[in-house]
Symmetry: C2
Subunit: 339 residues, 2 copies
């Protein structure tokens, strides 16, 4: 089979890889219906994370179960399933309190830009849908595998409640779906920080009530203007740079909540500075598994359409162009379909 | 009148200072029943914070109202009152959500090691007791002014609930009262990190179920041993050094809560490291005012006796010895009574 392999900065190849096989009785093999390129794939693609060796890529997936190991009980061949980028047993103490992405037995699922995928800990990781979804639902179901689950976690971790004033820093797919999540959770005011027309438009469609185009100090000042000088109840940091973290911290009201869901790169927080902000801080790799059942219901019920973040769809063999389009910000997010 | 003035490292003098007067219609003047030396007073005393000029000291106080400004409505001369180290209007947006120590009009009350004190924003700051307390209650009521309120905030910010497993880092007065607070909130297991006999004893009296004497990596390993390898639900960081923060972060379970209430000194947190811990982080200067009414009730009702942290009582004119005893760890906390 052929899949995506990253060789180094801006060098993604679609090439022969060994077809995955069941290696543990808890594994499942699934045939990918759709996969995609993640904002976090751009870190190594852009050289911000070093690529030590040719590395298969992709951690977002949904598809049809082809085969399961002898110990798998909850899914069977022929079913449509969605999983998260961290396989989890869903039963250890960390999973039990809803942090499946910190599962004591977690394994990263990192070879999903391919037609076939091995998923470890299938019972704890995969969630099946009630039927085989129609083709138009697939993008939204795929989005649940990471970006929608991550946006939802960002809103949850930032304590978004009915009536909240929310700021979303970052207009990538996760930020946009953070807007959608805040809207679903009943936020009264949702301020999206974005300077790109197409992203502003989608943010508004997802429920943003205000758009702030300024960044840094100016951006913070604008947020303060919009919130009677107080700052926002909840701020979702969906980027992971030093600048975006600072902007988020300074936009949060005293006693407010800030979440961060993008892997921080080069971020150092000064204890004393943080101390006087009086904010609640929570984040980390989103425990997508916690939210999958509820989010699948919302997609099936027509309440959310997170698949709208895919503004470019390509056959899997054009994966390299999928990366390029996102790198050059021509696309928000690229969906890939194996042929 | 004479009061305490810090001139430089280990140089506290008891010397003539101008007697405070009403300067704004919202002020009150109180005659101090008791004041004390705070762990945070030791930072400048030890030279960790620079002392730019001779500085009056003291931010913990309770006493009898002597005089009030023309706008003061809630307290009157003759009443016994307690206030926090930050005066607050108790009505701004930050106060309204319970963060009075981030009041938009806050003023630090920093001249309390004296027989008479001016308290700004008296209506928002001072809480009166139902009567003039007997002398034996005064130490516990004084403790509410900072250390007990701060320990309570530490437990509250670390989400201590009935049944929680709690770790308290720091065996100063705040840490010990963090233990007491966790006990009051129904924690099932309270692990105090302490290597000093007298402090271990008081921690146990306040409700600690386990004592850990190890520090650093070893301390963290011991906490993991005691919690099935998972870490604690709630960790209260009551010191403010880099070492204590790291110990606290690493002792917290994934998805758990860590609070920090000591002003951080030289603490830098790496974003990426924090990200993967999956902890909730909250802290800052304790909004003592939020908790005063409830804590006064608990003292009057005999439920808590936070005054036990005062293991040295001196007349105010011996304030320099009070600092020395704490600096040399001969005393946990020094209570001072004006003569």
């Amino acid at each position: 089979m052929k899949g995506a392999v990253l060789y180094g900065p801006r060098d993604v190849r679609f090439e022969e890889r060994p077809a995955p096989k069941i290696t543990a009785p808890t594994d499942a093999i699934i045939r990918i219906s759709a996969t995609c390129v993640c904002g976090s794939d751009l870190w190594p693609y852009r050289g911000a994370n070093k690529v030590e060796q040719p590395t298969p890529m992709g951690h977002e997936y949904c598809g049809i179960v082809e085969e399961v190991g002898s110990a798998v009980r909850s899914v069977r061949p022929g079913q449509f399933v969605i999983g998260s980028f961290f396989a989890s047993d869903n039963s250890c103490p960390n999973c039990q309190i809803g942090y499946q992405s910190s599962c004591q037995h977690r394994e990263f699922v990192g070879t999903a830009q391919a037609p076939v995928l091995r998923v470890p800990l299938a019972d704890g990781t995969l969630v099946k849908t009630s039927d085989i979804p129609t083709n138009d639902l697939v993008p939204s179901l795929l989005a649940l595998s990471d970006v929608m689950g991550t946006g939802w976690f960002a809103a949850d971790a930032a304590n978004v409640k009915p009536g909240s004033t929310v700021v979303v820093v970052g207009d990538g797919a996760v930020g946009l779906l953070g807007v959608l999540s805040a809207q679903q959770m009943g936020a009264e005011r949702i301020i999206a920080m974005s300077r790109h027309d197409s992203r502003q438009k989608l943010a508004t469609e997802f429920g943003a009530t205000d758009i702030v185009t300024q960044r840094g100090e100016e951006g913070v000042a604008r947020i303060k203007d919009l919130t009677d000088g107080v700052g926002a109840d909840s701020v979702l940091e969906c980027v992971g740079t030093r600048e975006s973290m600072m902007q988020a911290i300074q936009s949060t009201r005293r006693g407010g909540y800030m979440s961060y869901v993008g892997v921080p790169h080069g971020v150092e927080l000064q204890g004393e500075q943080l101390f006087y902000t009086h904010i609640h801080l929570h984040g980390g790799p989103a425990p997508v598994r916690r939210f999958l059942p509820e989010l699948i219901e919302r997609v099936y019920g027509g309440k959310i359409n997170p698949g709208k973040v895919f503004d470019l769809e390509l056959p899997l063999d054009q994966v390299a162009e999928g990366y390029r389009a996102m790198d050059e910000r021509r696309a928000i997010k690229t969906l890939l379909r194996p042929s």
